[in-house]
Every structure is written in structure tokens, then in C-alpha cells.
Amino acid sequence: MTLQGADRIEQELVSIVGEANVLRPAPEAYAIDDRHPSFVVFPGTSEEVAAILRLAHAQELAVVPMGSGRRLSFGNLLERADILLSTRRMTRILEYEPADLTASVEAGCALEAFNRAALPHRQWLPFDPPDANRATLGGIAAADDFGPLRHGYGRPRDSVIGLEVVQADGTRIRAGGRVVKNVTGYDLNKLFVGSFGTLGVLVRVHFKLRPYPEAEATSLFLDSEWERLESGARQILQSELLPAALVLANEEAMSALLPDYPRKALLARFLEMAPAVVYQVERVKALARSLSLEFVELRDEASRSIWEKLGRLHRLLSTDLRLRLSVLPARTVEAFCAGERALGETLARLHILAQPGTGIVHIGGKLPIEDEPTLSLVVQAIRHLRTMWAAHRGRVIVEHAPPEIKRRVDVWGEVGASLPLMRALKHAFDPKRILSPGRFVAGL
């Protein structure tokens, strides 16, 4: 982009969103990995988003949609980043009919704000991605971003019932609708949810809501070895109990979460009718006794707060490398032990959170120093884990890493035989590759 070119574009952007809503150049806080976008724009409506994309499409400018920016570093290094499109100003709740248990929001609407509005109706969106306190609902949908509640409530993907999307060329389309059950035409929701802003810009999202639980409690099992904790998890999974979240945490994680208990732990969160919570806590207490495990019970606010802290763990421990493993649930413990072995020597403050019910394992830590040998050790460890787990349908994604690492490994790993389809989809929806180019799998 020439300087004059940039000026012209700035003018056009200003004419779309107003002067106050264009930043040039992007302040440091808006850097994505080591890339600095030329502009940050804050459109206020979907029409404005469409206009921005029409402009970008015509000029072949790379647009990177963002919500709160919480997950901007998730993905491969961008090839280009001209315009950072923030939904910060699009925060309205557009429709909320409690009797339908559905709601429709603008993409920039914050999860917390929405749940505050829904609470009087005893309803909520059961999402708890990392940094949930900052998350926007558009961002959650675009990244299909989940946390431990995935165990009991599924992924955000399973709660999105409709979308409005601005396509790369600025045309707007709708997918799904506002009803909870819908098979009218192809389900394009699925295409956009989890596409990380590489196929279109989500401007409006319809969700189905859940009843807000009457009571909550968290049970903790503590031990110095995994064996009995794993067995506890297995027994809970095979029982009638219905935890909303079930997480194994290592000492490092626990010492940040509950400094009084720096041990290995199994955390089970129960969200239910009050009598059902009481019943479940009693059941797991008995289970802890039978396994001779130390047992701690947290109720209401104490329970909520430990999970909230867990969502911020990577910040508490200033993590700069975070991996997500997805393995068959029965192999969860095996997977994080493998992760621990592969990275334990290299990373400091290695913390592990694993969901034995879904097979999701998060391993995070801090690079003691960003020198060549450390970087190549980390890269080797990632490659090693990938080959090792590929044999068991396992996946290793790098959720967060310094650019130096991203330059050496694809953060997503191998896609497999369906890559040509994905390439063709990208081409069908963004032929000029202006939407977050390079960010997605295989650098799409």
C-alpha cells in the first residue's frame, strides 16, 4: 500500500464509520503476533461492516475481524493484516424472548453482559472460554471457544442456531434462524462457527439458551498420584452423576487456583436443582472415601470463583505457550502425562488442565528464555506429540505461542484428506483471500 493509497483508504473508512472509529496506525495493543495492522476500525452496524468489506474486497486489503482480541493470537501467522475490524461497538442484544429460550445478539455483545441480562429470567449461555470475562459472543462463535463446561453443555457450536454474516465481498447472508430446531437448507452455521474469521465476518448471532441452575457446588479430590484421581474420574463418568465440568489439574495449576492445596486434583462442578446438587456432592464424597482421597467441597460463590480463576489461569501463570490436545477420552491421563514428559524439562510453570470426559487436555507453561535451543526443543516436542497421538486419532493444536514458534510449526497440525475440501470452501467464500489470510489450517 502506498502512502497515498493508505490515505485514500483512511478517508473511505472514515466516511463509513466516522473519524472517531478509525485508528491509524494500529496502536501497539492491537498488534497480532508481530504484525501491526494499518488500520483499526470500529463499525457500529452490520451495514458498516458490509461497506468496509466491499472496500477491502475492491482494494484487496486483508481484513482481520476481532471481538475483544482475546484470541487474536490463536492461529498461524497472518500473511497480511491491513484492517483490523473490531466489533467493540456492536454490543446490542437484539432480541431476547425468555419464553423461547433463545436470543439474538450483535457480535460484539459481551458474554458477561448477556448473562447478566438473562439472569433475572433464570437463563444463561453456559460458556466459559479462557478470559470469559472479556469474551464477546461473536468471538466465542467464530473460535468455537469452549472451556470446562463443554463437558456438560457441549461446545458453543451446539448452541448457535443462527448467524448473520458479511461475506468477503460485502454481501450479507443469513444462516439458520431463530428457532431451536432447523434443517432448512444447508447448515451454514457450522461452516462459520469455528472458522476464525477466515470465511466471513459474523455480525449477528442467535443462540439457544439454557435454564440457569438453581444451585452449584464443586467437589475436589486431592492426591499426590494420578492413579486414584483418574479412577475417581472414571467412576464418576460411569455413574448416574451429571457433572457440568470435570477437570484434572496438576500441582502447578492447583497452587495458582487454591494455594492451600498445591496437589494433584480432580474437580467436579455440579450445576443443578438444589437437591440434585446435594445428592451429587454426597455421592462423590462417598466415592472419595472409598478411594481414600482427600476431599474438599466448595459451594456457591466459592465454587464459581474457582472456575472463574481457572479460566484466567494462563494469565495468573503468565503463560506464553499453550497447547490443546484432543484425544479419545479414555486416554486423557495418558495424553497429559505424555505432554508433561515432552515439555516438563523445557517449560517453566508447566500447568495442565484436562477434561477426562471430553479428552481435551490443555498444557501451558512459560518459556524460560527465547533462545534457539529452547525454541527448537519446544518445536520438537510439539512434533513428537503430534506423531505419537496421530496413531490414536489425537490432535495437538498450538493455541498460543510466540511468533518464533509459529514460524516453525503449523499451529493446527495436519488436516488430512479433507484439506482439498477446505481449500475449495475458502476459495468459494473468499476467493481473493482477504479474510485473515494465512491464519487458518494449512495457511488458508
Binding site: V179, Y186, E240, M273, Y279, G413, G416, L421
Partner: protein, 464 residues
């Protein structure tokens, strides 16, 4: 004889390629028999390799084709509108793997939905999506239609229970979608494929999630003296933040038909409508919720609310519900089942209007549907030999669709667009929306060979 027929015979054997027009007759329609289009041939593959072989031959000769499961679909999805070949997958009916530790099962597409639940029942599991046709429909068909069922209110649709698919693309290439138990990376092709109505390729292997049987189940039957009261009770239950595992409604015409059938369940034939409500989960919460539901039904005018005493009574009530559509066949030579969805809060306003539309066209109508998620199934009785009546049925259907869309609803909640509802697509989607869908389809099937003529309306110059 076309040369591709000989090639198909080579793959599956002479016996397993039907070309005799008399034997193709039974393949001219599916569960919705008003659309009749005989295929040019039917083949019976018995393995994924045979499917690949067949598809490659057809791709090479540019012969259109489609998969068929049990043919219980209700949108004309398994019908060869453009001729071509039907791949009947009923013989690929093996359960390949059951893995309780990871709560999943791997099956071939021809496995019947209920057979899977039966196979895992003793171990304390079930397969959650339970279309009313579950005793006959196949999991392949379920995947293609993203089938729902009464218990989808709580457990979600097929798409929420499918963990992986092996798919033969229209050009004969094989891809794996989803991780078969782990998260795949990249676009959610698995989610996109489920519900694509057989137009993206042919599923040859499915990994599904198994769900643990709940500790407690309670089934309630509430009967009402007016349809309005019944709908209000439904809205009240949802608004109260209770999510039953199923919340089904049957009106009087349906009750009468069920009670006259082999699935008679002891429903009150003098009620205007009944709600069949099921709660499941932990005993402690089920008890509590049941009490609140009884109360909500009462305050909304229920005459009586009874609780199924035992498993046998519960099974009887459900058999009655699941046989309801078929039972309506007794009171009418032909039946048009509609499938529309509305926001649940609009039920008390929409349902009476639906009856009024039928009355205006002089048609008999019975409603039996998934009230809890606003998924209407108006069943219109008619005699296909009476052309004026057929015309009135079509017009009434259109009005009903328009009504549902007007209140924020949509065209189909589980049966799919298929052949039947293509004409209504522009009611909910703009040209741009449809064009985006057409782009996705072209990614999977650039030549338009796989189940052509379904889902997307065709415009003069471009197909979408």
C-alpha cells in the same frame, strides 16, 4: 444396456443390480409417496469399497445417483428425480465397534437407529436421537437428514451425536470428516455434512456418541379441553426454565387414531389434546421438576395429569406417540405430514390459526408434534385420487408455511427440504443466502451428480 450397468454388475454381481422396471417401481418414492420418480437402477453395495467402486463408475459416466437407507424420509429425499442410480445401503448394517470407555460406537450407515440403542441398552447406554421412525430408519438416513425426535428437546439432534463420518465424495474419493471421537481441525465439515440430505456424498461409516441412561425417568400425561390451553401450558413450561427431555402434543383426531390402532395407549379420547411430557436425569431433580410441571399444567387448564406407573405403561405411551403418524393412516387414504418450526412462545397464537387454515380449505387435520421445541407436524388427511382435494392440500400447506415463517419460524425442523419443500425456500432465504449454499454444494459436488434436484431451487441460468 448402458455400459455402466455392466460395470456395476462387475462390482456387486448381476443379482444385485436391479434394472427391471417392475422391480424399480417400489423405489419410485420414499415415506412421502406423493413424489414418484423411478430410478434407472438400484444397486446393493455391501461395503465401503463397493460404494467407492460404484460411485467412480457413475462419476465417470456422469450418471446421477443417490443413497437410500430405509426410505422413511418424509421430504422425497430418497427419490431419483432425475433418474439415475439408487445405492441401497440397507445391507451395510453392521455395528463395527462399541467402545464404552470412550462412549462411542462405530456403525455402517444401514444400521437401524433402534438396533443401536438395543445393542447398548444392557450396558446402560442409549443412542439419544430417537426419531419416531427409529424402529426402521437408518443412521445413514439420520445423518443425511439431521434427524430429530421427541427427546431431542433435551439431548439435541443427530448433529450433536455424530463424532465422525467416512464419506465417499461424488467423485469417488474417500474423506474422513470429524475425528471419530476427537476434535478434527479446520472447518467443521462434519457439522456441515450432517443434514446435507445426501447431496454432498455417501456416508459409509459413522461414529456416534453413546449416552448414559438417566438415573430416573418420569413420564407424565396431561389432558386438556382446549388446544389453546395445551399450547399455553407448553409455553409456560419452557418459560419456567424447565427443560423436559420430551414435550409432545397430540390432538383429539390423533388420539382417536392411536386408540384405534395396535399402539392403543389408553389415551383419553374425549380430551381436546394431551401433552406427553418426560423428565429424566437425577431422581432428585426429576421429582422436583415433575411437581412443577403438574402445577403448570393445572394452572393452564389441564383436566388431569397422570404419571406413568411403570416401565410398561411408559413404553405404551411412547409406542402410541411414535405410531401416531402411521395410525392416522387409518382415518385417511393419504396423509400429508408437514414439518414446520415456530418460536415456542408463538404456539398459542399459531396453532389455532393452523386449524383455521385447514378448516378454510375444508380439510381434515390432525396435529401430533414436538411441542417443546416448537416443531409442528400438521397432518392433513386427503384422498390422492381426488385432484381438487390435492390442490387444496397444497394451498393449505403453503399458507401454513407462510404463517410459520411470518412469526419467525422456518420450513422444516427435521424432515428436510428434499424435493417437497424446494419451492418454499425463498420464503426464508434470500437469493444471496441460497447462492452461498449452492457454493458449498459445488465444493462437494461440482458436477451436480449426487442426489440432484433436492434442497436448493433451480433458477433458469444458475442452480441454487
Amino acid at each position: 444396456m448402458a455400459s455402466w450397468i455392466a460395470e456395476l454388475q462387475e462390482i456387486v454381481g448381476r443379482e444385485d443390480v436391479l434394472t427391471d422396471p417392475e422391480r424399480l417401481l417400489a423405489y419410485e418414492c420414499d415415506g412421502l409417496s406423493i413424489h414418484k420418480h423411478p430410478p434407472a437402477a438400484v444397486v446393493f453395495p455391501e461395503s465401503a469399497e463397493e460404494v467407492v467402486g460404484i460411485v467412480k463408475v457413475l462419476w465417470r459416466h456422469r450418471v446421477p445417483f443417490l443413497a437410500r437407507g430405509a426410505g422413511t424420509g418424509l421430504s422425497g429425499g430418497a427419490v431419483a428425480v432425475e433418474g439415475g442410480v439408487i445405492l441401497e445401503l440397507a445391507r451395510m448394517n453392521h455395528i463395527l465397534e462399541i467402545d464404552y470407555a470412550n462412549r462411542l460406537a462405530v456403525v455402517e450407515p444401514g444400521v437401524i437407529n433402534l438396533m443401536l440403542t438395543r445393542a447398548v441398552a444392557d450396558a446402560g447406554y442409549f443412542y439419544a436421537p430417537d426419531p419416531s421412525s427409529q424402529m426402521a430408519c437408518t443412521l445413514g438416513g439420520n445423518v443425511a437428514e439431521n434427524a430429530g425426535g421427541p427427546h431431542c428437546l433435551k439431548y439435541g439432534m443427530t448433529v450433536h451425536h455424530v463424532l465422525g463420518l467416512d464419506v465417499v465424495l461424488p467423485n469417488g474419493e474417500v474423506v474422513t470428516l470429524g475425528g471419530h471421537g476427537t476434535d478434527a481441525v479446520g472447518y467443521d465439515l462434519l457439522g456441515l455434512f450432517v443434514g446435507s440430505e445426501g447431496t454432498f456424498g455417501i456416508v459409509t461409516k459413522i461414529t456416534v456418541r453413546l449416552t448414559r441412561q438417566p438415573q430416573a425417568v418420569k413420564t407424565l400425561l396431561a389432558d386438556f379441553l382446549s388446544v389453546e390451553d395445551t399450547s399455553r401450558a407448553v409455553s409456560a413450561i419452557i418459560a419456567a426454565g424447565i427443560l423436559p427431555s420430551a414435550l409432545e402434543m397430540m390432538d383429539r383426531a390423533t388420539i382417536e387414531a392411536v386408540e384405534a390402532s395396535v399402539y392403543a395407549a389408553g389415551l383419553p379420547t374425549d380430551a381436546a389434546a394431551v401433552l406427553l411430557i418426560e423428565l429424566d436425569g437425577l431422581a432428585a431433580s426429576v421429582e422436583h421438576e415433575a411437581e412443577r410441571i403438574v402445577e403448570l399444567c393445572r394452572t393452564n387448564g389441564a383436566r388431569q395429569v397422570i404419571v406413568a406407573r411403570d416401565e410398561a405403561e411408559r413404553a405404551r405411551l411412547w409406542a402410541g406417540r411414535k405410531g401416531a403418524f402411521g395410525a392416522l393412516g387409518r382415518i385417511s387414504p393419504d396423509l400429508m405430514v408437514q414439518d414446520a418450526v415456530i418460536p415456542r412462545s408463538t404456539l398459542p397464537e399459531v396453532l389455532p390459526e393452523v386449524y383455521r387454515i385447514a378448516a378454510r380449505y375444508g380439510l381434515r387435520m390432525a396435529n401430533v408434534f414436538h411441542a417443546g421445541d416448537g416443531n409442528l407436524h400438521p397432518n392433513i388427511c386427503f384422498d390422492g385420487r381426488d385432484s381438487d382435494e390435492v390442490r387444496r392440500v397444497k394451498e393449505a400447506c403453503r399458507e401454513i408455511m407462510e404463517l410459520c415463517v411470518r412469526v419467525g419460524g422456518t420450513l422444516t425442523g427435521e424432515h428436510g427440504i428434499g424435493l417437497d419443500k424446494i419451492a418454499y425456500m425463498p420464503l426464508v432465504f434470500t437469493d444471496d443466502d441460497l447462492e452461498a449454499m449452492a457454493r458449498v454444494r459445488a465444493v462437494f459436488d461440482p458436477e451436480g451428480l449426487c442426489n440432484p434436484g433436492k434442497v436448493l431451487p433451480v433458477r433458469r441460468c444458475r442452480a441454487f
